[in-house]
Amino acid sequence: MENLKLGNFEEIVLLLVGVLYNGAYSVAIVEEYKKQTGKSINISAIHTVLYRLEEKGFLESKLGEAGDFRGGKRKRLFYLTPYARKALEEIASLREQLRSQIPAISIQ
């Protein structure tokens, strides 16, 4: 668990990549982020995190096709690695485990 070193924002980006399966590239992630959280974010912030996560081994990527409105340029599609799946699962289960231990009284 302690080896995973996943920040809060990184975790969200990982989740978004998972949500957008097979269509996860930067612009789509920006839109999805806005849709899901209601907050807007600059594309450079997403770039930074995507490339960093790839370096850390949470993501792998390949160049996809050139979509509309891209001036004929291909997009880089990102996919979760098994390592990332494991990390996300561990985080989720840790959270769940902790949540279940909270006495009912303290969140009433």
Binding site: I43, S44, H47, Y51, G67, F69, R70, R76
Partner: protein, 896 residues
Amino acid sequence: MSHEKHFPPPLALKFFRWYCRKDRLEELEGDLEESFYAMLHSGKAPGLAKMICWWNVIRCFRSYAFKRSATYRSTNVYSMLTNYLKVIRRNFSKQRAYALLNITGLAIGFAAFILIAIYLHFETSFENFHTKSDRIYRLTVHYTSPSGYDTHFARVDTDWINGIPEEIPEAEKLIRFQNHEPKFVRIGEEKFRQDNAFVTDKDVFEVFNFPLTKGDTKTALAEPLSIVISEAVAEKYFANEDPMGKEIFITGYWSTDETVYKVTGVMKNLASNTHLPVDMLISFRNEAERSWWAYTYVLFQEGTNMVSVQKKLEAMAIKINGDQALQGAEFVFQPLSDIHLHSNLAREIKPNGSITYVKIFLLVAILILALAVINFMNLTSAMSIARSKEIGVRKILGAESQQIVFYSLTESVLFSMAAAGLGLILAFLALPVFSELTGTENLLPPFVLVSVLIGVTVVTGLLGGFYPAFVLSSFKPVNIIKTSKAFSIGKKTGRFSIKRVLISLQFGISILLIASAMIARQQFVFLNEKNLGMEKDQVIALPGVPDTVKDKFKLFKDKLEGQPGIKGVSACLEVPSREIRDGGTVTAEGIQENVDDAPSMDIQVIDHDFIDVMGMELLAGEPLPKSLAYEPLPQLTGANNDVEEYLLSKRRAYLLNETAMHAIGWQTPEEAIGKNVDWNQGTYKLAKGPVVGVVRDFHQETLKNKVDPIIMVFEPLWLRTFLVKLETNDVASTMSVIEGAWNELFPKYPFEYQFLDELYENLYQNERQQLQLLYLLSGLAITIAFIGLFGLIAYSLKTRVKEMAIRKVMGANFTSLIRLIGKEYLLVMLAGAALAIPLSYFWVSKWLENFAYRIDISVMSYLITLAGICLLLMATVALQTIKTSGNNPADTLREE
């Protein structure tokens, strides 16, 4: 696709492509474009979308997008740097002598630069400490008359100017500094003569920054009979006692009455960068005292338009005095900060500097620095040739050109830093001598000096390293390893190769400075040794005697005449060496009878012994007759025109100088003798009297000015200087005789005298300072140049050892070797000389134009300079050749 008429801003994309790494460019640029079109799609205005796209490009300026540079890829910058430093250190110890030579040359250059910077800063910092200096103006007056009288005074003598603050709305305050004549001060039993003492207005502290350490600026000069003294004066008068409230007795200049003043303030000593040195300020007793000659300063409001003020001043003068007021008088406001470098008027408080000299020395500073940098470049590039093998190996091992350049520049910047450190030390060791030489105080804040120096150091290091760096980095490794390269400035390097141009520039700068210094020296010797038309040696002058002393001059004279060691005693108006500023028109019987057309002349008042005492030559006639004797001075009040009547009633006889004779229109001295002339200035008029003699022209003033026409007359009322001619080997005991007589007759006044020859020498104090500075600098220049040359020749011979050996084997003798090497340098030097000599001629003739009497520039000075440099050059070449060719050629050639 409805939005295709709008595109992302092309410049933004261009910028993005410039910084973005290639492997991510496609996807990232695509992202940017897509977000742009997405914004248009969602209904954003195209302009806004473009702006956001720009914003995104800027936001993407982050590490993930950056190009990976070449150096970044090379594994370890730090360890390369340590390697560089190590090799630089090893090289330094391997060629210690040359490296030290190189650093020393540059250090001397830096030291000269620092010293001149201090001098220039001092000269341009005048009046800076007055916080309102940009709003303070000095009022001056320029008097002219059709007869040729033309004098611009630094001070003003009309009283209506006191109304300026009331009449001109922009003027806030008007401050008078008057009664500038020396004060005769008594404290208890001790007597002092106090200069730099002024009577001034109480608001003086609101205009000028004269900080008080004791007392209150608001009240210090508010009361009559108050006095503020400087700390230095306080210490002189009262030693360690508290001066506040102490009494100071001052004897009047015009009468023997003593007035007692109370000390109400002590002022910090002023720095010497002011044209207005103040040691004592005295309050006015009443408004009526604010009259007659005064150095007058006006404080204006911020943003005042001086052109309109000048107009208002003229209107005001006419309003108060009527139309005649400004005839022949022009009132001029001078900005306070311009006075030191731009003003040279009559009766300045102290001699001012000159912007010309500031410019000259700025140029010299740049030249010397250029010399040192050239030297540095030459030596560094020469030294680096010996290291071409090292560079070759580095290149073969994969060093890139960029790295070699960086390595080279590191080395030269390090050298230049060492030189700067050494230069700083040298400059501060030389500073005391330099300050004395130039009268400069070091007011340069150290942090400014240091930051300027750091800048110059880095620039020099880069400049110096630039050429060798690129020479070295351009070598082809194979060639370097295969052959060993010789350093020479011979024809093979090309007629205009950088090396040759640099060396000839060096020679040129040295010749320029040395030849100019030599000619300046000749002019200076000429100034001091020219026959002045009088004998100034062994004459003491007691200038500026008060009226009460003057009254008893006859007694003083009788007491001294005939004493052993005293040849004669006389008196005059203006002490010789000082310009005469009292002019008037002279009419002459039968030739110039109309006062309005008559020529204007200076008047020198003398007694009948003057010609004798001063050793002047009479071309015709005789000195003033003894029958015009001293009589007790009349008691004149100035009322009912009694002065005018007195002047007109006395019997007169006149002497003229040659120029005056010609000005009137007489051709020969004999023609003038016996003709009646008179002298008029305004309401003052001297009675007609005969010309009794004509004197050969003598130099009353500095040789910068032409001899003016002078008329001489006897009038005891106007004598102001006593003169005593000594004829003794024991000056000290004769002086004590004179002092004894003085103290007996004038116990209230301190005995103060000056030697006339010193007064004349002081006239050229500025020139002497500048000359000495020029000496110093040209000495430094030649030192730097020859340090460089020495190193260069030594180096060049070292790389040509084999060539020399082969030449010797083939039968060349010592002289032919010297000729071989010497010829190369000689040609280069002559090229430099061809550049420098016309420049120096131009420069020096400009300077000589300052002097009405001057030497001709002689070819000899240039020949001597050239010969001297040739000799030095040949000596250097010979010395180095002996060292090289002394070896047995077999030894040199054997090892390979």
